[in-house]
Amino acid sequence: MRFRGKIIDIGCIQHFTRVVTTISKLVKSCTLRITTDTLYFILSERMVTGGTGIWCQVSQNHFFDEFNLDGVSAEANEIYLEVNPDLMVRALRTAQNAKSVKIKLTKKHMPCLTLEVELPTLAAHSRLVTHDVPVNVIPRRLWDEFEEPELPDFDVTLFMPCVKILRNVVDRMKNLSNFLTISANNSGEMNFGVSTDIATIKTHFKDVGHPNWRETSDRDPKEFADARIDIRKLAQFLVGQQLSSVKIICNLVHEHLAHFFIVHDDVSLQYSLPVVNS
């Protein structure tokens, strides 16, 4: 089992850092699945532990200049690791002006993802910083738990309103209630609301964009779909994500699921929050 990758371009290093930072803001520990062409950051909580799901896909060749992988076996050419993204971020932060970053799987005092950062100096030589980030290798019998979740048929699909505004709105609402209800319909109306015993507060957004992303069901465009979700988790996502400030797709399954989707050429992130019933 071997893995070794090298990023040279400073833009790629910074972008990769942003991806990992985004993940680290959402979750303390997640699964890193490495295949020959893609890196995945995966979280699939069971319903009893919250049911949050993260599926982040990073296409390897957009970032890495060298990428060598010998998986568990020839037919299962993959590696699954349990990583703490926050530790990875701390290591990557020292590489923000690096000449190159090598990431490799090593066995030191324990299995580690070793990040070798080559820092520039004024002279000809360069400095080498090595960070050993401890990881856990996930045995093959547990791989089934990390399969890509199947997307359900969404009732409503819309772009999120401007994140900057929404972030402020949600941050304020966070002080009032633990749960927020998103209700939206396919004709571009989107409401974010909290309700307590003494007050109900709702922020309405109109004419929200509609992505031509998938065929939506033949649902009445005026009919609202509701999703009552954990407001903290939504706030975390809005505050912590560093991938995109526009074009976040929000999908709702009425009284079942809220699903947020960021798609780029090289990175995609899905974040799904289950509905919490009152």
Partner: protein, 411 residues
Amino acid sequence: MKCIIPGINVKVFGRAVHSLSKIGEEIYFEPLDDGLALRTVNLSRSAFASFIFRPSFFSIYDDGHATLRNDDDVLKCKIGMKSCLSIFRSLSSLEKSVDRCKITLNMDDCRLVFQLFCRHGIVKTFNLTFIECETLQAVFSKEKCNNVLTAQTRLLCDAVTNFQASQEEVTLIVSKEKVSFKNYIEDEPDLKKVVHTVLDLVPEEFDLFQIDAPADITFCLKELRAVLTFSEAANMPVTMRFDVSGRPIAFCIDSDSTFEGNFLLATLADYSSQSQVTASSQVGLTPQTQGQRSKPSVSAQRSTARRANNGSSKSKTALKNMSKVSVEPPTQSDQGNEDRILPISLLGEPEPQRQDSPTNIEEEGTFVPGTPPGKRFKSLFFGMSQSTTTGSQPSSTQHQVLAADTDDEGD
């Protein structure tokens, strides 16, 4: 005593106070023939810092010795760090507004007076209460160090930024081929939470690279950061002088004629290589202490003392002998320790010492942290060495594992 700091130097002086404030809680003030000394020591006495501002740093410098009959009357005092820091709080505004700073002593009211003469005729006067005390001095001989490294501040700052803000200690590993900084990890129960970081530097990066003996020394990052806050702003190279683990490391900043700064940090004693350390630490002693610690007998006395200690019936004489050398906590296992001397004491002291070791505080009973040091020389102890001692077993195994880098990835 009276001295006046010209406007351009006020910021340097203020920055020195800032740097000292990151180490100690009190600032020791002493006018000398060859300049004004500001010193401090941290609570656990594991770090000592001093600045000496030469007369040329001031526009007027009068140490006050001329008017006194004998040298003992010269004021040596300490003032609270916070009150001194408040004078120089905002360095950027000091630079803009202060024309000169006058430091005088008001003997009638027992106040040390700082006056900042600012633009537009504004005069800010600070009357600080002080406590008279003896000279604070760490005995450390720069010449006795085998290893000397001089680096531009930039290099050290860049090196330090690779470590987490929460990182407490770093290990400096030097050999003739390279210099490495490594984060020092104390017995962390959960290995999964710790990132091991190593930074390698080639000798060419240093202005002066003189390594006689490979060394592996661990010291506090916090105090190194204090050194760097000063040197970075002054943009002056820093010279590190050190020997082996357990012996202190000195960081020196020297602007030939106007001032110099010295920071002395205790380093963690490496218990596995203690026997070799013994010899060199003996050599490194200053003449005063050599007389007290008659060489071969010390170890014998110490081992007696420890035995008595373990039997929890420590005689006063045994304690006296022990306190000349620093004592390890009684929890340390006895085997193989008989013939070695703990090198964590930086300086000798003819009188019984205040010890960090809990047993000694108990025995002496009178030690209150922060009281004025009664004697000319004070010890620096490394407080953390205790925790390492008690947990020495796990930590040594951890080191073994770390050493074996079985990186099988094959570059």
